[in-house]
């Protein structure tokens, strides 16, 4: 009797250990530290993390793709705390998070990199080449709105909806309401979690305008329109990999080149296509990423 219980316990512990350890693959030819990648908590970022992760993995790098969590703040925090080695972020968002008061032309991607690069460098991370793929800020209204540009909204007394972060940003709510920029007087404001709820609120008429992202596939599907940013308030939002400098050095220049090559291949249309698959067709990010890489011939090694 004792023995059976003992054996059962051992079996349970062993099973648990197998379950916990499951998925840990040991590449024999690894010549550097594991590269931990974590996407932020929305589909596009998750898919981007899968694309970069599977791509590097196919090239023989030791990669671990972590559970998506949090947003930009947490991503930068994790990079600083050595809990992640590679994040792929939107450079305009990086600018407002790291140097909100930098007096540069926020529409100029190179100027942004010149500003955020040193900030990351000082904290032990390197910003690599940015991609032509852009997921910009979008001032979105329903299809039947009279407005064509953001300036047109000033006279309409709209109810405005956006995520909490927007309300403290000069390139967002503060810029829309600043008399020196757009000077809009909204009749009311609603704080909405970033994501499909923005579209739901707009469709339901709870709000008349929301700040979303240009690659959100629901914008086209639900018949919304992105208004023209006629005052040039929105920053450039190309995606760019930001990697721990120590990990980058350990793997040598091959890693930098590989990442830069991949970034150059991704386009804005790819981002939209991925989002349609994950958010409208409800497919999984890892499958979407693998198919895109296969199609580009990037997995064949």
């Amino acid at each position: 009797m004792r023995i059976t219980i003992g054996a059962l316990l051992v079996a349970m512990v062993a099973a648990a250990a197998v379950l916990v350890a499951g998925g840990g693959d040991d590449d024999g030819d690894a010549e550097g530290p594991t590269i931990r990648i974590r996407g932020q908590d929305f589909s596009e970022s998750v898919t981007i993390a899968e694309v970069y992760g599977q791509y590097l993995s196919a090239r023989g790098y030791d990669v671990s793709i972590l559970t998506p969590a949090g947003f930009r703040t947490e991503a930068i925090e994790a990079l600083r705390n050595d809990q992640v080695d590679l994040i792929i972020d939107y450079i305009g968002g990086e600018l407002t998070a790291l140097a909100p008061d930098a007096g540069i032309d926020a529409a100029d991607a190179d100027a942004i990199i010149a500003t955020i690069g040193p900030v990351h460098e000082a904290e032990g991370a390197t910003v690599l080449d940015y991609s032509p793929a852009i997921d910009g800020d979008a001032f979105v209204v329903r299809g039947d709105s009279e407005a064509q540009t953001i300036s047109d909204v000033a006279a309409l007394g709209y109810v405005f909806g956006a995520a909490a972060a927007c309300f403290e940003r000069p390139q967002c709510f503060l810029g829309y309401t600043d008399p020196g920029v757009y000077g809009i007087e909204f009749s009311d404001t609603v704080t909405i979690e970033f994501g499909p709820l923005l579209g739901e609120a707009l469709a339901a008429g709870e709000v008349d305008a929301v700040v979303w992202n240009t690659t959100a596939p629901q914008i086209g599907v639900q018949g919304f329109r992105v208004l023209e940013d006629d005052q040039g308030l929105h920053p450039a939002q190309n995606i760019a990999p930001i990697i721990s400098s120590a990990v980058l050095e350990a793997w040598g220049p091959g890693l930098r080149d590989a990442l830069n090559e991949l970034s150059a291949l991704i386009t804005t249309d790819d981002l939209v296509a991925w989002n349609i698959e994950t958010d409208l067709e409800l497919r999984e990010s890892d499958d979407v990423a693998r198919e895109w890489l296969e199609q580009k011939g990037l997995l064949a090694q």
Binding site: T73, A97, A163, A164, A165, F167, E168, F173, L174, T177, P179, G183, E185, F186, D188, T189, V190, T191, I192, E193, P196, L197, E200, A201, A203, A204, E206
Partner: protein
């Protein structure tokens, strides 16, 4: 001069907690702490009122009839395991599509689901465990079933029923702030804005306000109990087996 909605005008990053709480503008105005707190209190009171009306009568009746012991246990387990945020968040798109707006239905229903288990379980357990001898004695004295339920069982069980009310009320008040993440405001707005804007003062300040309101709620229910519980029962309380199976 632009009519900026106050809460949406960002709180400066460098501001300290005391400075923030000490500023009169933080408290007053349509989006100040007082008004947001009132929103929270109103919703919580509505939830608790509905919850008490829905949970107490069936719990008391079933316990009196000595039926449904398993239902009570299953209910409390389910109620505690269902993530309230998921329930509320699931209901939001449904409510929006029906044209009911962001508020108050999704958050109201989610909080009601949270409040029902402790209300039901405590009432049920308390009445179920009223000493059978006492009940039989009342019956022998010629009490009708209705009188037994109301004047004997419920009276003896009332302090445990109040424990259930207190636990439910505290949980509802401490959970109501998720409303701020679902298109509403209320006292949770400061935590939400703090998290979204990476402003620690707002997160800590907001959490303190919520904790303070929850503590106050607990105190208010205790005072209500003092006023309500009959003298004789209060003396009896230590002798009843009332603590068995109650939570909180």
């Amino acid at each position: 001069m632009i009519a900026l909605p106050i809460a949406q005008a960002a709180v400066p990053r460098g501001i300290g907690l005391l400075e923030w709480l000490g500023d009169l503008d933080t408290w007053l105005g349509p989006d100040g702490i007082l008004s947001s707190g009132l929103d929270t209190v109103t919703l919580c009171a509505a939830v608790m009122g509905t919850g008490i009306l829905l949970a107490l009568p069936p719990a008391a009746l079933l316990a009196h009839l000595r039926r449904g012991e398993l239902t009570a246990t299953a209910l409390v387990t389910l109620g505690r395991a269902v993530p309230t945020f998921a329930v509320a968040a699931l209901l939001v798109p449904v409510a929006l599509r029906r044209g009911w707006g962001f508020e108050p239905w999704p958050i109201f229903l989610a909080l009601l689901l949270l409040a029902l288990p402790p209300l039901y379980l405590n009432t049920y357990t308390a009445i179920r465990h009223v000493d059978q001898g006492t009940v039989d004695a009342a019956r022998a004295m010629g009490f009708g079933e209705r009188s037994i339920l109301f004047r004997v069982e419920f009276a003896l069980a009332i302090s445990v029923v109040f424990t259930g009310i207190r636990v439910a009320a505290v949980q509802v008040v401490a959970t109501e702030p998720i409303r701020a993440f679902l298109g509403g405001d209320g006292l949770g707005r400061y935590v939400r804005d703090g998290l979204g804007q990476n402003n620690e003062t707002l997160i800590i300040g907001g959490a303190l306000l919520i904790a303070a309101l929850a503590a106050t709620t607990s105190l208010v229910v205790t005072l209500l109990e003092r006023v309500t519980v009959p003298h004789g029962v209060r003396r009896l309380r230590l002798q009843t087996a009332s603590r068995r199976g109650s939570i909180g």
